[in-house]
């Protein structure tokens, strides 16, 4: 079977803790069941992390994956890293995997079956299981798309629409397979939006006529609110007013494909 996707792992810094997490994360790709090809993994590194990270990768064997480290000398924000790496993707889809998270061992095999059947989908989300740093399950994310209460009678279970997203914004693209062409066509992730850039991206994808579907499988184990993570930082440092501002901004900006300057008038 053809390899349909590239997995992108952004790394901003490199130390023993990152090495430990990244090894787990790469092993979760390396140990995928039932697939007969080598998944491509692009680690996109900030300039400051590159040398040590590259050395570690060269010294460590992950026999079942094709691994490459990219040095991003430009914008090293999360969105900047993803946008940069996406330019090197030559597969139909790409996926974003946080260096401290893991894939379910059957996820890639299962995802292939959805690609075969649903070629018109622009973004395949999956159900994430959120765990704490002690690896204890906390809750699920993205599963709401399969709820009858959440879906009205006219919408198909499993698909997101703009009405859903205006009611409920907590969807996560970690582990999502994103159509590479679509990602570039609609303007990638916006670097000028903080906090709600994933939400804005999903709204924009839908508004541009692409389908967003949640694969009803736990594909991804997400360490929630890890110290030092971007979203933990937002939670700690951002006021409620600011958070509200960014979600309101997302609802205005998704009509535009370009990454416009945001005037923060609060």
């Amino acid at each position: 079977m053809k390899n349909n996707y590239t997995i992108i792992i952004p790394v901003h810094e490199f130390n023993d803790k990152v090495k430990e997490y990244l090894t787990l994360s790469l092993n979760s790709v390396n140990n995928q069941k039932k697939i007969k090809y080598k998944p491509s993994v692009l680690i996109v590194s900030s300039v400051r992390a590159f040398d040590e990270l590259n050395k570690f990768i060269n010294e460590t064997e992950f026999s079942k994956i094709k691994l490459e480290v990219l040095k991003n000398e430009g914008d090293s924000s999360f969105q900047g890293q993803m946008n940069y790496a996406s330019k090197y993707v030559n597969t139909k889809y790409f996926m974003y995997l946080e260096y401290d998270d893991e894939l379910n061992e059957n996820y890639l095999h299962r995802a292939d079956k959805y690609f075969e059947e649903m070629s018109d989908v622009g973004v395949f989300l999956n159900i994430l299981i959120n765990v704490n740093e002690e690896n204890k399950p906390i809750n699920l994310t993205n599963e709401m798309a399969w709820s009858r209460q959440f879906n009205d009678k006219t919408s198909d279970l499993g698909y997101l629409n703009i009405d859903h997203l205006t009611q409920f914004s907590d969807f996560n693209i970690s582990g999502a397979f994103i159509d590479t062409k679509m990602f570039k066509n609609i303007g990638m992730l916006k670097t000028k939006i903080e906090l709600s850039f994933v939400y804005e991206f999903l709204l924009r994808a839908l508004n541009s006529g692409y389908k967003v579907f949640v694969i009803p499988k736990i594909g991804y184990k997400h360490v929630k609110d890890r110290d030092g993570s971007l979203f933990k930082k937002y939670m700690l440092e951002m006021s409620t007013i600011d958070r509200k501002f960014w979600f309101e901004t997302a609802k205005k900006e998704y009509f535009f494909n370009n990454d416009r300057d945001i005037v923060k008038d609060v």
């Binding site: 379910n104 059957n106 079956k113 399969w146 009858r148 959440f150």
Partner: protein, 359 residues
């Protein structure tokens, strides 16, 4: 004169001119047992016989939930139809219609009781009553377990016939990516309400999983045909079946043919198809209070695509060539042919006796 009549009866049997009359109660909702009667009628019509379905009620509307291929027989109201029935004709009456057994007991024919539910049979019989008193000597049942149970109660002085129910070929697995909704099929609404409430209380993390009563199409008020029903089962990863008084239970087989995991209460009559060593064929319990835990376990296995999920589904291959309509059809034809042959032998013996007496 009498000998000519008898010879005419024999000729009718030999030339497949016997009539087949299948009685059914008035049809209100989809029921597997009614489908089965229509299937018998369809099979015998295909064999070239003159077949009629006679409704014991006021409506002869064709059941919307049975596929057209099976509905190729005439349906008449039993109260209106005028038929000449002879000793070479076959009258088939389901266990639930004791009144029809009574009303037709003097009609000369090959009389057959079609027994698919012990519960219905016992409800319909008066205490101390038997089918013999209605002139019924032949009983067709749908499983050996059912036959053993009934012969234990009714005695061995009936001609018992057993055949395997056939599950239509449209109960098959076509859907690769099954969805997290759970069809529920039940006899008692209270049971299912209890299970669903317990499940949501105990497993709020799965409150997004929905149950489907399988009566209507999800998005409309259109009632489901059996083909629609099969498609819905195929889409789902698991289904719940609660029917303690079932005498056979086609639903779990329909699920397994569709590679959908059945979760159920084991009926009082243990389904014969579950009685296979080293195989579990889904999730089964005698205790209704365990069903919510079993549902949660199946969901967990489905969401994580575990090896256990693969193993359970693989077991369903066991039924690939079993309980097919082709096998069922063959067995049904054999049963009715045997009944007709036996009647022919009796008639020929009577003819022989008369001829010898005349000499």
């Amino acid at each position: 004169m009498e000998i000519n009549k008898l010879k005419e009866n024999v000729d009718k049997i030999k030339n497949k001119k016997s009539k087949f009359l299948f009685f059914i109660p008035e049809i209100t909702e989809p029921v597997a047992s009614i489908y089965e009667i229509f299937f018998h009628a369809h099979v015998m019509k295909k064999e070239g016989y003159d077949v009629k379905i006679l409704v014991n009620g006021d409506s002869k509307e064709k059941p919307y939930w049975i596929e057209d291929e099976i509905l190729d027989v005439d349906i008449e109201l039993a109260s209106e139809v005028k038929l000449k029935v002879g000793v070479d004709d076959v009258v088939v009456i389901p266990e639930i219609l004791t009144n029809v057994f009574e009303q037709t007991k003097n009609i000369p024919s090959i009389r057959v009781g079609l027994l698919q539910s012990v519960d219905y049979m016992l409800n319909a019989l008066l205490p101390g009553g038997t089918w013999k008193q209605f002139g019924v000597n032949n009983i067709i049942t749908t499983s050996k377990k059912l036959k053993n149970l009934v012969s234990g109660v009714m005695g061995n002085n009936y001609n018992y016939y057993t055949y395997d129910i056939g599950i239509p070929n449209y109960f098959q697995n076509k859907v690769v990516n099954k969805i997290p909704t759970i069809p529920i099929v039940y006899r008692n609404q209270n049971d299912i309400t209890k299970i669903v409430k317990m499940f949501y209380l105990k497993y709020p993390q799965y409150s997004w999983i929905s149950f489907d009563g399988m009566v209507y199409d999800s998005d409309t008020t259109k009632q489901l045909s059996r083909k629609d029903f099969a498609e819905k089962i195929d889409k789902s990863f698991a289904a719940v079946w609660i029917d303690k008084i079932s005498s056979f239970g086609t639903f779990p087989l329909e699920c397994m043919k569709s590679k959908t995991i059945p979760i159920g209460i084991i009926p009082d009559i243990f389904p014969e198809y579950l009685d296979v060593e080293d195989k579990t064929f889904g999730y089964w319990s005698n205790n209704i209070y365990e069903i919510p835990d079993m549902i949660a376990s199946v969901i967990n296995n489905y969401l994580e695509d575990t090896k256990l999920m693969d193993k359970i589904i693989k077991e369903f291959d066991y039924f690939n060539n079993k309980y097919t309509q082709e096998n069922s059809e063959k067995q049904i034809v054999e049963i009715y042919s045997d009944l007709l042959n036996k009647r022919m032998i009796i008639l020929e013996e009577q003819i022989k006796k008369i001829e010898e007496d005349e000499k």
